[in-house]
């Protein structure tokens, strides 16, 4: 697109309401921040009510765009239809959940999904690495994970424990990923998980663990996440756009900008962008 500063007639105004997933939030925030340099008259409000919470507002028409770290559910789509809200789904990237241990941990390189499940399933009593796998040393195991009130938690529990929000409870939970980083970095026996983006930020302080879903150990890397070989802990990121809002020039401009810079900004925020063609396809579908 053109990124010339607005002059006279093409200076836009208005407010764009965005809500939804905290995982997608950094990308949308980055887009909004960059977009503001082009169109300082447009007010972009980005809230974080979670994917579900965001859809709740989106499907009644309160918001223009909804950030989502999963596809919309049937029930949510029905609610939208009932309220006369038509929408477009736009894929913007992929997130890989990363499993982390302390830098000084020299015995763990790879864990199987079953082992993760043994550790994280509700009622699990594994508190020592030697109970995880024969051959691991006698080292106290302490767990770190995101806040129960987050999309990351939902996603991890669904994939590892088989049902959303099912997990053992006695781990150090934090909505503040920094605490997880610090906790794991400061605790020899730590094991934890969080978004790939935060691992990217703290590569030097933490050690990432490869995951074996039956097809061998795979490390989360842009290539493995994008091609889906990093299983099962990679997930798609979307934004949903209300078709009616698309009639407004400022929303149009914003989405155009999103798709034009999505590839770069998604990467900058630590996620794995989708193929540039997907952004182009999104644009085409929205008629931009």
């Amino acid at each position: 697109g053109d990124s010339a500063p607005p002059t006279g007639s093409n200076a836009l105004s208005g407010t764009i309401q965005i809500d939804g997933s905290s995982t997608v939030f950094p990308v949308t925030q980055a887009v909004a921040e960059e977009f503001r340099k082009e169109q300082p008259g447009v007010q972009v409000n980005v809230a974080v009510s979670g994917t579900g919470g965001g859809f709740k507002r989106f499907t009644v028409g309160e918001t223009d765009i909804s950030n989502a770290s999963r596809p919309i559910k049937g029930s949510e789509a029905e609610a939208a239809a009932a309220n006369g809200v038509e929408f477009i789904e736009m894929r913007v990237g992929t997130d890989g959940l990363s499993v982390m241990v302390n830098n000084d941990n020299d015995f763990v390189d790879c864990l199987t999904v079953e082992e993760l499940n043994e550790i994280w399933k509700p009622g699990s009593t594994i508190n020592n690495w030697q109970d995880v796998r024969a051959g691991f040393p006698d080292q106290r195991l302490r767990l770190y994970g995101p806040d129960t009130d987050s999309g990351t938690f939902d996603y991890f529990t669904e994939e590892v424990n088989g049902e959303v929000q099912v997990s053992r409870a006695d781990y150090t939970a934090s909505g503040d990923d920094n605490v997880l980083v610090q906790g794991i970095a400061g605790d020899r026996g730590a094991l934890g998980y969080f978004g790939y983006a935060y691992y990217q930020e703290n590569k030097d302080n933490l050690k990432v663990v490869a995951i074996d879903d039956g097809d061998g150990c795979v490390l989360p890397e842009p290539s493995t996440i994008e091609d889906g070989s990093y299983k099962p802990l990679s997930r798609p990121l979307f934004i949903y756009v209300n078709r009616k809002s698309l009639e407004r020039p400022e929303v149009k401009a914003f989405l155009t900008f999103y798709m034009d810079h999505g590839y770069q900004l998604t990467g900058e925020e630590g996620y794995v962008p989708v193929d540039p063609s997907v952004y182009a396809a999104n644009k085409a579908e929205a008629g931009l």
Partner: protein, 308 residues
């Protein structure tokens, strides 16, 4: 004289003004009703599904996270224990320190020193609690972890009740010291003189005469400070963790009632859901807790005022 006065209008105006002022005062009562009513309204849905006794006496709190059978648990005791744990650590810091400061200021300090120190301590009370949270998380916890003891070096995690409690103690010191000092200053000088005239030292007069005479006021200051600690929110949200856990081990990460409310209010749980309404149930409990303590504290303050 060219005085003019519409008496009728004056009287009417007087009545209107009276009622306006009355309405202002009544606002406070309305606020209380508003608090109770809105908390009750929102938590009624919750108590419709979860029996009150299960809420009050259950020992597992996992309103979002499900167990192996896919059930959630709504026993608030872990939040209560977390709250009391942090508040107790705070009290363990603030009560002795605050009392010692109060004794010093009321019995020992020359006027100049008192006038210098009191405003400085008041600054402590005026610092926003986010700042204390920041301080606990980024300074006190690392400081504790640098203590070369196994417990601190190895077992103390970033979020823990200990540093939150210690810093909260620092925060409520001025509350204890200034209310206690008020109570001690109110003890008649004549009692001190009588004790000095019997050969008492300053310490004996302070501890055996002044402190006992001001006792209910001092206790009231403890209660009010403890109540403040229970209701404190940002500090624990930032520094004490988000792990509801029925424990009294200070080096563990825990979650307080207040931090839970912030977590959900700030998080992704959809409004209106059962999970979401838990915050009003917890809020109601918190309100009841602090209300009880405040009533007791103010009752004691009044009692000691009436004593002399």
């Amino acid at each position: 004289m060219q005085l003019s006065r519409n008496r009728k209008r004056g009287a009417l105006q007087g009545r209107i003004v009276h009622w306006l002022f009355f309405a202002c005062a009544a606002m406070s009562v309305i606020t209380t009703f508003g608090i109770v009513a809105s908390l009750l309204r929102e938590s009624l849905g919750f108590f419709g599904e979860i029996p009150v006794w299960e809420f009050l006496f259950g020992t597992t709190w996992s309103p979002i996270l499900k167990d192996a059978e896919g059930n959630r648990h709504y026993g608030v005791l872990p939040l209560v224990s977390g709250t009391l744990l942090v508040a107790s650590i705070a009290a363990a810091v603030a009560v002795p320190a605050g009392l010692a400061i109060a004794i010093y200021l009321s019995e020992y300090a020359p006027d100049k020193v008192r006038r210098l120190i009191k405003p400085i301590l008041e600054v402590l009370a005026g610092i926003p609690t986010v700042v204390y949270g920041y301080f606990a998380l980024t300074f006190v916890t690392p400081l504790l972890r640098s203590i070369p003891i196994q417990v601190f070096r190895e077992d103390l995690i970033v979020y823990n009740a200990l540093s939150a409690g210690l810093v909260m103690g620092l925060m409520i010191i001025p509350m204890v010291s200034s209310l206690s000092e008020d109570a001690m200053v109110a003890v008649p000088r004549s009692l001190r003189h009588a004790a000095y005239a019997l050969g008492g030292t300053r310490l004996e007069v302070s501890l055996r005469i002044v402190v006992p005479a001001a006792f209910s006021g001092i206790v009231a200051s403890f209660i009010l400070a403890f109540s403040r600690a229970i209701g404190e929110t940002m500090l624990v949200t930032i520094a004490a963790g988000a792990t509801p856990r029925l424990t009294f081990n200070p080096i563990e990460s825990i979650q307080t009632m207040t931090a839970f409310i912030v977590q959900l209010a700030h998080g992704e749980t959809p409004h209106g859901s059962l999970e979401y309404n838990t915050i009003f149930a917890v809020g109601l409990l918190l309100f009841a807790f602090t209300l009880g303590m405040n009533v007791l504290g103010h009752f004691l303050v009044r009692r000691f005022r009436e004593e002399y």
